[in-house]
């Protein structure tokens, strides 16, 4: 019985550590701001902006090398939009009416957001929900079952009324 609790304590600890590492690993990639926030606060550091590519605003030119692809578009938030100049490799997902995360810096003098990376929506919430919703009940289900088996073995061993043919209940 003692080993059962020690084992499950270990599993719980390992789960916690993995969760913390995961949070640490993804925290940077989850935080995004809206185009309105950029316009209001005029932030200049590298930020991740989440918005939708406005219909009819996308124009792109292929550069000479693979990493010299350029695209201009407007990234719209709920109320206002942001002019974006993207330079880099041709992204797979850049098209009109697509919600994207644009990584880069805001240039207050030209009023253009200079971007070097385009990513998909950070929908980690679904992933976390899916994993937690099966892992937590699985742990509880298994723990209850194991505990019950231990209790039953102990109960039957202590009572010693019924001994089935040639089976010793003394393991564990």
């Amino acid at each position: 019985m003692k080993w059962l609790y020690i084992r499950w304590g270990g599993i719980l600890l390992a789960g916690l550590i993995i969760t913390l590492l995961g949070v640490q690993h993804y925290r940077q990639e989850v935080t995004t701001i809206s185009p309105e926030q950029i316009l209001q606060e005029q932030q200049t550091g590298t930020v991740r902006v989440l918005g939708t590519v406005q219909a009819g605003s996308l124009s792109s030119t292929d550069g000479e090398s693979a990493s010299a692809f350029q695209a201009r578009f407007r990234l719209s938030g709920e109320r206002e939009g942001l002019s974006v100049l993207y330079t880099g490799e041709r992204p797979d997902n850049l098209r009109e009416l697509k919600s994207l995360v644009v990584v880069g810096q805001w240039n207050p003098s030209t009023q253009v957001f200079e971007s070097h990376g385009i990513q998909l929506l950070p929908n980690y919430g679904y992933v976390v929900a899916a994993y937690l919703i099966v892992m937590i009940p699985m742990g509880l289900f298994l723990f209850r079952m194991e505990r019950k088996v231990e209790l039953l073995y102990t109960e039957i061993k202590i009572a010693k009324v019924y001994e089935p043919e040639g089976v010793a209940f003394d393991k564990g």
Binding site: N93, N123, V127, I133, Y162
Partner: protein, 236 residues
């Protein structure tokens, strides 16, 4: 009596549990951290590493239940019946898990939690068959009769399994067809390895849970029998 079965389960369950734990932890790391996001779906593709193994394991679970039921009808041993009962209980958990994770995956990719798709409906029927199986067992008083009826119910219900498996081939469905099929692989290696690890891990975990639950059901019956004997002694 298949009492050796219980003895062997008690002895070897730990290996299955440990192996399952190792596979799942490595698979989780590779799936959640090391593998790349999908170019079209982005990060939600990571739900695959839990959804597909759960679905595969529930099919495995029902296959075990089916084979166990045949075995019971052949040998008529109550311990084999305990194993069938346990397989159904564990499979309900895996089937429900596969449905729930699938639903969470469907929302960002199909923009709906549920749709009347052939794969989804046949899989839900599998869950209902399993629940029906467990309910049937509670309705019958006589142990031998309960085991016999349940075994026949499980064997009849097995018809649903090929329907679940081939539904994506037979009908035009929203659910994607088999990625791993005789036609070849349509999945990148970086995603395949964590997927296989998780599938192996959850299959081992299924056998571990099956062993624990079989012992649990067996011991409960044993305790009941013991209580009966105590009572009969008290009144004799």
């Amino acid at each position: 009596m298949m009492i050796n079965l219980i003895k062997h389960m008690r002895r070897f369950e730990g290996w299955f549990g440990a192996a399952a734990g190792v596979c799942i932890i490595i698979g989780l790391y590779m799936g959640l951290v090391a593998s790349p996001p999908d170019y079209y779906q982005g990060e939600v593709v990571r739900i695959m590493y839990v959804h597909v193994p759960f679905a595969k394991t529930s099919l495995l679970g029902y296959t075990v239940l089916f084979l166990g039921s045949l075995w019971y009808l052949w040998k008529r041993d109550p311990i084999i019946d305990n194993m069938c009962h346990a397989a159904a209980g564990v499979s309900v958990f895996f089937t429900a898990g596969a449905l729930i994770t699938g639903s969470i995956w469907a929302k960002p990719t199909w923009n709906t939690w549920w749709t009347w798709d052939a794969r989804l409906v046949s899989f839900t029927i599998l869950l209902l068959i399993l629940i029906g199986y467990l309910m049937l067992r509670t309705f019958i008083e006589d142990k031998e009769k309960e085991a016999r009826f349940a075994a026949i119910f499980a064997i009849v219900g097995f018809v649903d399994l090929p329907i679940v498996y081939f539904s994506v081939e037979w009908w035009r469905t929203l659910h994607q067809p088999l990625s791993i099929s005789p036609r070849g692989l349509s999945i990148s290696g970086a995603m395949l390895i964590p997927l296989i690890l998780m599938a192996v891990g959850f299959s081992l975990l299924f056998f571990y849970m099956l062993m624990v639950r079989t012992q649990m059901l067996y011991l409960e019956e044993l305790r009941e029998a013991k209580k009966g004997r105590l009572l009969s002694r008290a009144y004799l």
